[in-house]
Symmetry: C2
Subunit: 287 residues, 2 copies
């Protein structure tokens, strides 16, 4: 199916893709590259790659598929470096959480001879690193693909084949459409959680109040424990959709505040609507 797949970035995601590719024998060689100390050795040990390379150029040379499995913050520089060295005909994809910005970088830095197909596998774990890699991580999970009108179908098919090897459910989306949707269901919840933790933690009575915080507080602030650097890059590469989401969120909170100050019992309608939406969503969500 693939002759040579190069995975750049051997964390949880890159490592899990490698494990799944090797288990299914879908590639003649899975090559890996990572800047982290000892990460390549660990990736070899867990069986996520066949071989590790010391240079990016050696890793991607002759690959028919290159997968950028780094955080979005590293992708611009990677594309800039890879542009001149990729073998003509290579298909390149990524796994970053935002797509429009990544695609504009790909259009800026990659030559006409290679094809870029944006991807975003919707899977994760609370743990990170290649030692947590799992060949089934993407099984039955949504895998967003965001080809543009200029993307050749042969290139799309390569990345579709990858998603199928992973057992994922493919969804095609426009890049901006993808970014708007993940802003709503992922980036906005993170910001809501951060602001909640900050508001509570900086309140004058936090030392005492923290002793009263229980499971509701735990759930509502869980996302705030996420990687600051990763979320910085996500928010800054998805500025328009995230700021639009924040505007709507703030307007909703202001409306709730107004009802409370006015002692307006019709606030129960907001709570009922949200409860019904939540129950309906929960019923369709597979853990």
């Amino acid at each position: 199916m693939f002759s040579r797949v190069a995975i750049v970035g051997l964390g949880l995601i890159g490592g899990s893709i490698g494990l799944a590719l090797r288990r299914s024998k879908a590639a003649q060689e899975v090559a890996g590259y990572d800047l982290g100390k000892g990460v390549c050795q660990q990736a070899r040990r867990v069986g996520a790659i066949d071989a590790a390379y010391e240079s990016l150029e050696d890793t991607v040379r002759g690959a028919d598929l290159v997968i950028l499995a780094t955080p979005v913050g590293a992708i611009r520089a990677l594309l800039q470096t890879l542009g001149p060295v990729l073998t003509p005909g290579t298909v390149i994809t990524d796994v970053a959480s935002t797509k429009a910005q990544v695609i504009s970088w790909a259009e800026e830095f990659l030559p006409e001879t290679v094809a870029f197909v944006g991807g975003h596998p919707m899977a994760g774990k609370e743990v990170t690193g290649v030692e947590a890699a799992d060949a089934d991580l993407f099984c039955n999970r949504v895998y967003c693909l965001t080809p543009t009108v200029r993307t050749r179908s042969g290139a799309i098919n390569k990345v579709v084949a990858l998603a199928e090897v992973l057992g994922a459910r493919i969804r095609f989306l426009e890049p901006a459409e993808h970014d708007g949707q993940v802003a709503t269901v992922s980036h906005l919840p993170f910001l809501a959680s951060v602001a909640l933790m900050e508001t509570a933690g900086e309140s004058a009575s936090w030392r005492d109040a923290s002793l009263l915080a229980a499971s509701g507080f735990r759930d509502a602030t869980r996302l705030a424990a996420g990687s600051p650097e990763m979320y910085r890059d996500i928010c800054l590469t998805n500025r328009d959709a995230v700021s639009r989401g924040l505007d709507e969120y703030i307007a909703t909170l202001q409306e709730l505040r107004r009802l409370i100050v006015d002692h307006d019992t019709s606030i129960v309608e907001h709570f009922s609507v949200a409860q019904q939406m939540r129950l309906k969503w929960q019923a369709t969500y597979e853990e």
Copy 2:
């Protein structure tokens, strides 16, 4: 320890208190009252009460301790009804989530001959109703008590004895102090969760976006599934503290929005601060 304890409201909380009292043989009689069809019979069946009564007056007659274990929305009317019928010397407490408003009702409706001690056991489950009652529900949980300067110490000791029977950890707080702290760690997280669910659910792309929502969204919106009526009463009886909390939350969100729009990488400092606060709190929290 107690001759007669009357529990008004036999849900999860009232039922669990009854079970614990009966298990420890701390009361000669545990009397119960509930307006719900069949609830008293069910409470007797699970062993939460010794006897059920058809009238509120019969339930509380001669009780040395009356526990109002209803949602806060029912308490004003209950205190109004109970005022003229309570036996002199009775101590009365509640389990409601807000305290200043409840205490002002108690001062308005109860005669000088009975003593009110506000209480708030910080425990709960995702399930409700007396069939989910659990004698260990309050074990090692915080039990807030909010006596005022006018509360007699004999009355406080009665409610302290109750909290000790439950195995709870007692914390004394001023009523307004309690309300400020629970606004921060409980009511504000609920409103943040409701607004998040409403913002997402009312976005134009929700049908598609909902398919991308995963565990982060699940956690951040879990509280929105809570009882609309219960939270309406909580928010409206804790108006000042909740609206102050919302103001601070909205201001924090506006600051995050500004940093994103300005493409200001220093937003990572907010994320780091929130992450450290969250990890620190999590380390002290016992599940």
